[in-house]
């Protein structure tokens, strides 16, 4: 959710029960402003909160002018001091894929797990158990990246692509209509398209290149990993991810208020197929 409309966004997203205490809200309003100035971001998003056993991570993201350019991720434990996280790499994802369980809330905490590694010694290959240590900060980076790639989203039309390439915020976006808001196809993954290239020409025929340049949620796997609800009568549409429980997206139809927030344990719901 945009840091500038933080209070309104929190109010709209409060249906899931995850809010922020008044002191956190106040400190976020102050500190994110400074983050925006210091890091020279075009836009700062309050991304959410990862609940740890001891403490919580508050995550914010900075956007440059091109909205789809890689986002910079910052985290904070007290909502005042922010630290920049390194961009996620393949190696990190691989490393942290072995780690499960809850976050601790301490970036320097080290998870240990044993791994079998092939060691070649004197022409003989044998396997050896190696204890691999993963720092929680690394795990945080990869989890935020995974969540971002899997469930960060924007409504259709909120961003537009200029002919020269960069993507901008669409200032003429006036919200989805009610019937559109009820369809999963009106929401896009907030990342560079990956599935769009695999579509046939026939499927792409109706797409508007300046608006439909991202993947739609409609084809997400597994099917049914989103819960769409109309709340407050029909005045608010709320999407909750079932794959990453804790992610709440909200959009008030006919207004430009939209955003998403993640408040959860940072664990993927791999039991989803059993639960539907």
């Amino acid at each position: 959710m945009d840091s500038e409309s933080l209070l309104l966004s929190l109010e709209l997203a409060s249906g899931s029960g995850q809010g922020l205490s008044p002191d956190r809200r106040a400190s976020l309003l102050t500190s994110l402003m400074l983050v925006k100035r210091d890091y020279r971001y075009e836009r700062v998003l309050f991304w959410g909160r990862i609940l740890g056993l001891v403490g919580d991570y508050y995550i914010a993201q900075g956007l440059s002018e091109d909205q789809l350019a890689p986002r910079k991720t910052l985290y904070s434990l007290n909502c005042i001091e922010w630290s920049l996280l390194p961009p996620a790499t393949e190696e990190m994802l691989l490393q942290t894929s072995m780690v499960n369980g809850r976050f601790m809330g301490d970036p320097s905490h080290e998870y240990e797990h044993t791994e079998l590694q092939k060691v070649t010694e004197a022409d003989k290959a044998f396997e050896e158990e190696v204890v691999v240590q993963v720092k929680e900060e690394t795990r945080l980076v990869s989890v935020v990246d995974q969540i971002d790639k899997a469930v960060a989203m924007v409504p259709r039309g909120a961003l537009f692509k200029t002919p020269l390439g960069p993507t901008h915020v669409n200032r003429t976006f006036e919200g989805l209509s009610l019937s559109e808001a009820k369809k999963l196809g009106s929401y896009f993954h907030f990342k560079e398209a990956t599935e769009l290239k695999n579509k046939t020409l026939l499927e792409k025929a109706d797409l508007d290149p300046s608006l439909d340049f991202m993947d739609s949620l409609e084809y997400d796997i597994p099917k049914g990993s989103w819960s769409i609800q109309m709340e407050r009568g029909n005045a608010l549409v709320v999407l909750r991810s079932l794959l990453w429980p804790g992610l709440t997206f909200f959009h008030a139809p006919y207004t430009k208020n939209y955003g998403y927030i993640y408040v959860g344990t940072g664990e993927k719901n791999i039991d989803l197929p059993f639960m539907l």
């Binding site: 409060s14 249906g15 809010g19 008044p22 002191d23 956190r24 056993l53 499960n100 809850r102 019937s179």
Partner: protein, 715 residues
């Protein structure tokens, strides 16, 4: 439009019959004559029906309906000559309709007709204005006109050669006709009718019909007809009474035509999209209005005195400090909804339990305790359920088919806990949105809790949705929801140590040693625990909801005691032995009530609770916040003296491992396995030979033995 006029026509056509004899005769005569030629003889009548309308607006027109036909008749009689000149061959009057129906020069006719109409109309208007001044003697004038017309029309009809020369006369006649119409109100039908009927022979009738039929032709372009158009125009003029009607008659005509283009309602219409929003707002408005209904102060005082409504807003304030909130206005609506619930039910105690998220809708859950003796309905329900169960078993026994019966004997069902005890201590109401009706959840059975522990399903938000799972869940979503609520309550409802104390009923204590004491009461001497202690030590928090045993009950139920009767029937000792073994099954014991939560078990190194201060910035006014790691979404707060629990989440327990559905039970044996039915290897040739040799040897021996025996016997 057409349908309605036809209807009216019919009415009209009936009325004249009743009203005026002469008309009826004529109509009969004309219809007889016309039937073969005119497809729609009735069409002649809509004219009178539409035209009379303007008359009613005329000053001083208390014209009875019965007089209509008379006036109309004269109209027809008079308008006949007007029509006939336009027809090229009027001499064989019987063929007129044909020609009219197939108009040879429609454009000509139209143009010729319209000027006529205009002129007549303008005349008519002038006349009407005159009339207003000269109302005292309208009848005489009229009669004169009528006579004139009839006289003139007579000679013209059979003589087509006079058509053109008659044109001027027509106009006059028409004027006369319109005048007549307008003054029809004042005229005495009896005076006019005889004259007309005398004057108008069948030919005239037919001509009238033809003229009208022509005027009533519907244009294929605009689907209008001149007759209706003219009458509409006249209506408009007479209604509005413009100053310069003659000058603006063209634009009036245009306006009348334009009026037909008004948008017709399409069958495909936009859905009224915001409807649910209005509906909900309407319902919530009722919530806000409920306070106004109670007007008397006395009631108000009583209400305040016997208050069972919790202060939801206060709790919400504290929970907001903890970072858990549903939004202030949403909470207030929930507050009002709870008030509605307590007003409509005999509730002793009420609490906002929390919110369970669903796929389609969410559940707001209220935990209530009924007043003593007010929850009898439930007891009845239970009885019914029990009866049902009994009935089913009886049916099973009655079945006398010879199907093989399975050896499997279902373990005896553990009975449900009485209401007000154990897992059924409270009653729960749910609703999807504040303002919608509260629905009471059924009480929970031990089986449901046991199965609910084994499954993990999302709630849909519809209470009647089936729960499709393995192992099969006994009941629908409302039962599953109730079971999860019971589990969550048992796991996460905590209070500061000392807030509750056991009731001092020592007599009962001994009886309840098994399951631990059930009842507790608020400690009046509770002095509060410093917040910092609450944060630092989990032993300052205690569970105040009973632990649910693996059996699915809070108080252990010994399944063996009840099954003794059955065992008596089966006299086999083995069974008894087994039963004895059962007896030694360990009694399931859970932690007693008001056990500190520091004794809760860890789940794979995950501590079950996380405590912290709500704010590190101003710790002196902060509150203690407790977050359950076992049931993500369960929170508790305490400011030392007050405490509250809430749950907002999906209703699932946390598990570090993946969910795996339990394996199906092992397959039962169909029959006991023994050597006679086990498959063996075929013997080899050598084996067979050796077997034969052995057999032969045996036979030999036997024979020898016999022989020897025989010998012995012989001996």
């Amino acid at each position: 439009m057409e349908a309605s006029t036809i209807l009216n026509q019919e009415e009209e056509s009936q009325e004249p019959g009743e009203a005026g004899q002469p008309w009826e005769e004529m109509a009969a005569a004309s219809s007889r004559d016309q039937e073969p030629k005119l497809p729609e003889p009735m069409e002649s009548e809509p004219g009178p029906e539409t035209e009379p309308q303007p008359r009613s607006s005329l000053p001083g027109s208390p014209r009875s309906r019965a007089s209509t036909p008379a006036g109309d008749l004269t109209t027809f009689g008079a308008s006949l000559p007007g029509a006939s000149p336009q027809d090229p061959l009027p001499s064989p009057p019987l063929e007129l309709p044909k020609l009219d129906l197939v108009p040879p020069w429609p454009s000509d006719k139209l143009t010729s007709a319209i000027p006529d109409a205009e002129t007549t109309r303008s005349d008519h208007v002038e006349h009407t204005t005159d009339d207003e001044e000269s109302t005292p003697h309208p009848t005489s004038q009229l009669e004169g006109n009528a006579l004139q017309q009839s006289q003139q029309s007579k000679p013209h009809l059979p003589q087509p050669g006079h058509v053109t020369s008659n044109h001027s006369q027509q106009k006059e006649l028409r004027v006369g006709l319109f005048l007549e119409e307008d003054w029809g109100s004042n005229e005495d039908p009896d005076q006019v009718e005889p004259e007309v009927s005398e004057a108008a022979p069948n030919m005239l009738e037919i001509a009238v019909q033809n003229a009208k039929a022509y005027l009533l032709q519907t244009s294929s372009k605009s689907s209008l007809n001149l007759y209706d158009h003219l009458s509409d125009m006249l209506t408009k003029v007479l209604d509005e009474r413009p100053e310069n009607a003659v000058e603006i008659i063209e634009s009036i005509s245009q306006d009348v035509k334009k009026a037909h283009f008004s948008k017709k309602l399409d069958t495909l219409q936009n859905e009224n999209e915001m409807l649910p929003a209005y509906e909900l707002a309407e319902k919530q408005k009722a919530l806000f209005l409920q306070g106004n209904l109670e007007e008397a102060d006395q009631d108000l005082e009583d209400e305040i005195a016997e208050n069972c409504l919790p202060n939801v807003m206060e709790s919400a304030f504290y929970f907001e400090q903890a970072g858990v909130c549903l939004g202030t206005d949403a909470t207030y609506r929930i507050f009002l909804a709870l008030k509605q619930l307590t007003d409509t039910h005999p509730i002793h105690k009420c609490r906002f339990w929390g919110k369970i998220l669903g796929l389609e809708m969410n559940y707001l859950v209220a935990e209530v305790e009924f007043r003593e003796g007010e929850d009898e309905e439930e007891g009845e329900e239970e009885d019914v359920a029990d009866e049902k169960a009994n009935g089913e078993s009886e049916v099973d026994e009655d079945e006398e088919d010879e199907l093989p019966k399975p050896f499997y004997k279902a373990p005896q069902a553990v009975p449900k806990e009485e209401s007000r005890t154990g897992a059924n201590k409270y009653v729960y109401f749910v609703c999807s949105e504040p303002g919608r009706p509260w629905i009471k959840l059924p009480s929970v059975t031990p089986v449901q809790i046991v199965v609910a522990r084994k499954i993990k399903k999302f709630f849909t938000g519809r209470l009647d949705a089936p729960v499709i799972s393995y192992p099969p869940f006994p009941g629908n979503e409302s039962n599953y929801l109730r079971a999860q609520i019971a589990r969550i309550s048992a796991g996460t409802h905590v209070s500061p140590l000392g807030f509750y104390q056991f009731g001092e009923e020592e007599g009962e204590e001994e009886e309840e040693v098994e399951g631990g004491r059930e009842s507790f009461e608020e400690n009046p001497d509770f002095e509060g625990i410093p917040v910092i202690d609450l944060v630092e030590s989990l032993s300052n928090w205690v569970h105040h909801v009973q632990h649910i045993l693996p059996q699915g009950r809070c108080n252990w139920f010994n399944p063996v005691q009840k099954s003794e009767e059955e065992e008596e029937e089966e006299d086999e000792e083995k069974e008894e032995e087994k039963a004895e073994e059962h007896d030694y099954i360990e009694q399931e014991v859970g932690p007693p009530l008001l056990t500190p939560i520091s004794e809760d078990l860890e789940i794979r190194n995950v501590p079950p609770w996380t405590t912290r201060l709500s704010s590190n910035l101003i710790p002196q006014y902060a509150i203690a916040v407790l977050r359950s790691n076992l049931w993500p979404g369960a929170y508790a707060f305490s400011n030392g003296k007050k405490f509250e629990n809430i749950y907002i989440g999906w209703g699932h327990k946390y598990s570090p491992d993946n969910y795996t559905p339990p394996a199906p039970p092992p397959v039962y044996e169909e029959y006991p396995s023994g050597p006679e039915i086990t498959e063996m290897d075929d013997p080899s040739v050598e084996e067979e030979q050796s077997f034969r040799a052995a057999q032969a040897a045996a036979v030999l021996e036997a024979e020898q033995d016999e022989e020897t025996e025989d010998e012995d016997e012989d001996d």
